[in-house]
Amino acid sequence: MAIIKRAEARAYLTPLVGFLLLFLGFPAVINLIYSVSTVDFQTLRSPTLSGFGNYLAVLADRDFWRATSFSLRFGILTAMIECLLGLFLAIFLAPLLSKRSALMAPLMLPLMVAPAMIGLMYRLVLHEFAGPVPYYLFMWFGDSPAFLDASHALWTLIVVETLQWTPFAFLLFYMAYVAVPIDVREAAALDGASAIKTLWFVELPLMLPTLVIAFFIRFIDGFRVFDNVYALTGSGAGGSTTSLSIYIYQAFFKEGAIGKAVAASVVLFLTSLIVLYGLNWLAGRRRREP
């Protein structure tokens, strides 16, 4: 029996729904209209419908595909590395952390710092003259790579992103690991399973749903990356670090190509819907198969 009436429940939901419709629904409609219109900053209020030219222009733009490729590689690589590192840290450090919870604080601190701020901080860390990393590399090895030029920027950014967000994956895995029921572990030990076997055949399978979810969250966040990449390289390095988010931002603000920017937004939106639909389908299937 529901404790409140449907009409009341609807009334409680109305402010939130109204707000979302105004700030997300309305922009979504505008996006769709502008994406099939010819529009510039002068004709903002009177766009002329002109068909799918914007979409064709975006799909024919090499920079769009370059940005898509960067976002995909960046999202997949960072999610993989973050999950592997996070899983290792969670399992290896669990005996240490379960007794001294204060040790969690330094591992979580990076999550509290703005990604944009982290990007700026790495400008200092990697700076040729003021940064300690090149300084020590020069001192010890007599040479330091140009971390932010076109050939190294992808990996520099992957390391930056990974160092900031591995704590998130670690946190999820640590909670899942600690939540493995004690009797399951005891039963495995009673059957004579070694620690490695318990991990592989008992604990990891129990943590698998968390692994999948963490991977998807980190992939999506990596795929749509903006803040730290923009702050660190400003899409520099000859455009080799332009993510899709940065591509849209630049098309709009730097080139004033509203139609192109909006069409790219719609393409990105549809792509993320497909990914989300797939993820929900996976999660739903998991729930049905106990």
């Binding site: 529901a2 409680y12 601190l109 909670m175 988010s245």
Partner: protein, 273 residues
């Protein structure tokens, strides 16, 4: 033996993850002269001159304005998100309405690249005169905060025993009264967590600050980047570092204060969602 190895791995991980913050902190205490000859991790003559310069030369640096804008916009973005999400969460937790459509849609919002809404919002703001205002930025931060606020509050309210509501109902309380004077005090810890977590998220937001503000309402994350756009003499690393530390301090302080609760809520959306 293996325990010693654990300590080493912990120390390496903690150092590596916090490396940019450590470097920035160290640099912020170096004089310009020392910085030019010593970019290393050691300070020979620590000085507060960078902080003093940033905090006192108000005609050159707008740091108070950035801090104030971030504070106001984050407060709006967090307060409003809770005001909207709390009744909705109550309705979802205590009835079937919204459970199967609204809740999943809002949760998925967390994963949608927000840039896709940014361009129409920019135009809408231009039309409404909300560009470059604290209120305008706060309203967008509300959107950013809503998904997690809703998830945390739905989970918290679902954990409150129904008997509590039913007892109050028998005493003749309306559902509004139950929500405000029974449920709200019981889930106060979740509300506090939501607030702190939302404030951190809002403070750290960059994209909308960059797009929707230019001058009057510039938040800290965007303002800090101005110190790197210095023309001519290059970046003043000492002052830039002091600014970054000051800008990172509020969320880090709040985060460390509440890291236990926050670790639970951060994962709430992921595991129960």
């Amino acid at each position: 033996m293996i325990n010693a190895l654990r300590w080493i791995v912990f120390a390496v991980a903690a150092l590596a993850m916090n490396f940019p913050v450590i470097v920035t902190l160290v640099t912020s205490f170096k004089s310009a002269r020392e910085l030019s000859i010593n970019p290393g991790l050691w300070i020979n003559q620590p000085t507060f001159e960078n902080y003093l310069r940033v905090l006192t030369q108000t005609d050159r640096f707008n740091i108070y304005s950035y801090l104030w804008n971030s504070t106001v916009a984050s407060l709006i973005g967090t307060g409003l998100a809770i005001l909207l999400a709390f009744p909705a969460a109550y309705a979802i937790a205590r009835s079937e309405v919204g459970k199967h459509t609204l809740l999943p849609v809002v949760i998925n919002l967390r994963a949608v690249p927000l840039i896709i809404f940014a361009i129409p919002l920019y135009m809408m703001y231009q039309f409404l005169g909300l560009l470059d205002t604290q209120l305008g930025l706060g309203l967008i931060l509300t959107i950013v905060n809503t998904p997690l606020a809703l998830v945390i509050l739905v989970n918290a309210i679902s954990d409150v025993p129904l008997e509590l509501d039913e007892a109050a109902r028998v005493d003749g309380a309306s559902s509004w009264q139950i929500m405000v004077s029974i449920t709200r005090p019981v889930v106060r810890p979740a509300l506090v967590t939501t607030f702190i977590f939302g404030f951190i998220t809002a403070w750290n937001e960059f994209l909308f600050g960059l797009m929707l503000t230019t001058n009057k309402a510039v938040p800290m994350t965007v303002g800090a980047s101005f110190f790197f756009a210095a023309s001519g003499g290059g970046v003043q690393w000492g002052t830039a570092s002091a600014v970054m530390i000051l800008g990172a301090l509020p969320p880090v302080f709040l985060g460390l204060l509440m890291y236990r609760q926050i670790s639970g809520s951060m994962t709430a959306g992921a595991i129960k969602g």
